[in-house]
């Protein structure tokens, strides 16, 4: 038996290219459905866990899925907005705690999410470096965001202007990185968190006053204070806003905060009764605001994904059968091509059974190598499953 495998191994080594093609084809054939299921399982676990930990969401009427994805994964480009009054309305019912979220902005590709401090308690996010949010202009980074942006506590982070050609637009705000959050393996890792009030400053609803170079007159503008900006100030071309301990006292908001924008409210009722009562408040068809159950919405999304997964399975089955037939054909043809070699083996005194054993040994070696390749690829997929889920499953 050992000799059979030795001869098979030598043969496969001699025909390296053909052997490698066979191993790769079979390896991928086995890997594809398993990897797909692995990614779908990871996606399901991720989405189910995130949705299950978010009891209810209140947001603008429209797609429940968009609202869920925007509030839970911060990935909607332009989520529709509601007013802060909706958060107060939820809290005023006494049936749920209200956690407002404002996830309209992005900073260097990462979601910039305005929340209240309660969000961190709710998601059990704690800084592993630095401190939590304390003052206007502070930000804390998710673990992944900190790694991608290469920032640490104490570093500045300039927000991204919404439109480079909007000369009358809002200046970017220079944020101060207060802390880095511990890894949670959720979309929070990717986010840059700011206080809701800081988000409203970015929105242009709040501003500070600073003495500009014309005799110290207080000018109602969001002006940069550092010395490097004085020249810029004189030329009336500010490049960014910065909130410093010196000017933070002058920052204030105009208008009723209840009218300020947010994109969603996470409602946290204490029990099922409160959940039902709260949902009842949003049944009116003319209501411009909706309440959704993220778990149910996610389940419906997952069902669609699984339908696509089943389709993939069917396609892969057909492709697999075709590939196996091709492999069988290749093997049969190779046996025919090897007829002189087989005749030589028989002439040397080997039986037909020995020839069959040699062929079987080759098949076993190819199967082992393919399985090894499959395991390697699956390990790779498992390691990167969360990343793959974020890229391919969660839109």
């Amino acid at each position: 038996m050992r000799h059979d495998f030795y001869l098979a191994w030598r043969y496969l080594r001699h025909h390296r290219a053909r052997s490698l093609i066979l191993i790769a084809s079979l390896g991928l054939l086995i890997t594809l459905p398993l990897a797909l299921h692995r990614i779908l399982d990871a996606g399901e676990a991720l989405m189910t866990a995130r949705a299950a930990s978010t009891p209810l969401l209140v947001g603008a009427r429209g797609s429940a899925l968009d609202l869920t994805l925007s509030a839970l994964y911060f990935n909607a480009a332009h989520p529709p907005m509601i007013r802060m009054a909706e958060a107060e309305r939820v809290a005023a019912t006494g049936w749920a705690e209200a956690l407002p979220i404002y996830s309209r902005f992005r900073v260097r590709g990462q979601p910039l999410v305005g929340v209240t401090l309660d969000y961190f308690d709710f998601r059990q996010l704690k800084p592993v470096a630095g401190a939590p949010l304390a003052m206007l202009g502070d930000c804390v980074l998710g673990a992944e965001a900190a790694a991608k942006l290469g920032l640490e506590p104490g570093d500045p982070l300039l927000t991204t202007p919404e439109n480079l050609f909007d000369l009358a637009g809002i200046y970017p705000l220079k944020l101060h990185v207060a802390g880095i959050l511990g890894r949670s393996h959720t979309p929070d890792d990717e986010a840059v968190f700011i206080d809701l009030q800081t988000a409203w400053v970015i929105e242009g609803l709040g501003h500070g006053h600073t003495a500009v170079a014309d005799g110290g007159r207080m000018t109602p503008r969001i002006a940069a204070v550092p010395a490097t900006n004085i020249q810029v100030d004189q030329t009336k071309l500010l490049t960014y806003t910065e909130i410093t301990p010196e000017n933070v006292g002058s920052f204030h908001f105009h208008g009723d905060p209840a009218t300020y924008p947010i994109t969603a409210v996470i409602a946290v009722p204490p029990d099922q009764r409160a959940t039902t009562l709260l949902r009842g408040r949003y049944l009116a068809p003319l209501n411009s605001v909706q309440i959704v159950d993220p778990a149910a919405t996610t389940q419906s999304l997952l069902q669609n994904i699984f339908r696509v997964g089943a389709l993939f399975d069917g396609v892969l089955l057909l492709v697999g059968i075709a590939t196996l037939l091709i492999v069988a054909l290749v093997f049969a043809l190779s046996l025919r091509l090897r007829q002189r070699e087989i005749d030589t083996i028989v002439l040397l005194g080997c039986s037909r059974l020995t020839v069959l054993r040699l062929a079987a040994a080759e098949l076993v070696l190819i199967a082992i190598a393919s399985s090894g390749l499959c395991l390697l690829l699956l390990a790779l997929v498992r390691h990167q499953s969360m990343e793959l889920v974020r890229h391919f499953v969660i839109p």
Partner: protein
Amino acid sequence: MLSRTRALQHTLAMLLGIAATTALGAPPAGTLRVTATVYPIAYFAERIGGPAVAVGFPIPADVDPPFWQPGIPDIIALQKADLILLNGADLEKWRARATLPQMKLVDTSAGFKGRLIVVDNAVTHSHGPGGQHTHSGTAYTTWLDLELAGQQADAAGQAMRRKRPTLATRFNTNLDALKTDLATLDRELKTIAAEKPGLPLLGSHPIYQYLARRYGLNLQSVHWEPNEMPPETEWVALKQLLARHPARTMIWEAEPSLAIAGRLVKLGVHSLVFNPCGNRPADGDFLSVMRTNVENLRTAYRH
């Protein structure tokens, strides 16, 4: 460099916070930690909670609560409380600049938003190290209307019950006792003011709006400080005011200097202290200060 300094401030604040809660008189585990941003509300919380509640009041004794500017260590300490009781009525102007957990915040005057007094055309003035300021916007000494003070105590009690439902009965008993004390003082003030309705009075500072409204005081205010001799222009303005508002008493936040009081006497105006008690008094508590205030006012009305 600025950011690094700020990060250092954050870290130091965290360390100080941890040190403060672990070593320096930290309340026993499970104790409800309440922080109030004006003394009367802190006093209400102390009365309602009793020994089951650790009440913090972060404002230094020499700072008037409306002009307090919390630093990062103060904000981090506030964040650690289970409940943050605010006076509301625009007293905590710093609130828009500090990150605090909304679920722990309780605006004790939210229940009577419609009854808050809006001050228009207030004069900008300066005294002390705080620099120039104005009393425009919403009048904030809501607790000087003792009926509103009772409502603020109710709001504090409700929030505390929500945080510690098991102690609700004890909180309710204490709250009832507090409201009885406040109602007694309220009745006394009403009785005193009813003795001479429309009696002209002067206020040394525009902070008695709720007191005047509740008890029907005929009060006109100037912008004077007890320890700062007003400039001559102010004395001239006072004489003009007295011509159309013949008051014999000026109500002060604290005892005025002898020089000011003496010069007022020459104009026929006596000084009376009605301490708003926004900060923790050196002696006694909110109730004892209010009792003294009531007695002071009674004396003024009898003369």
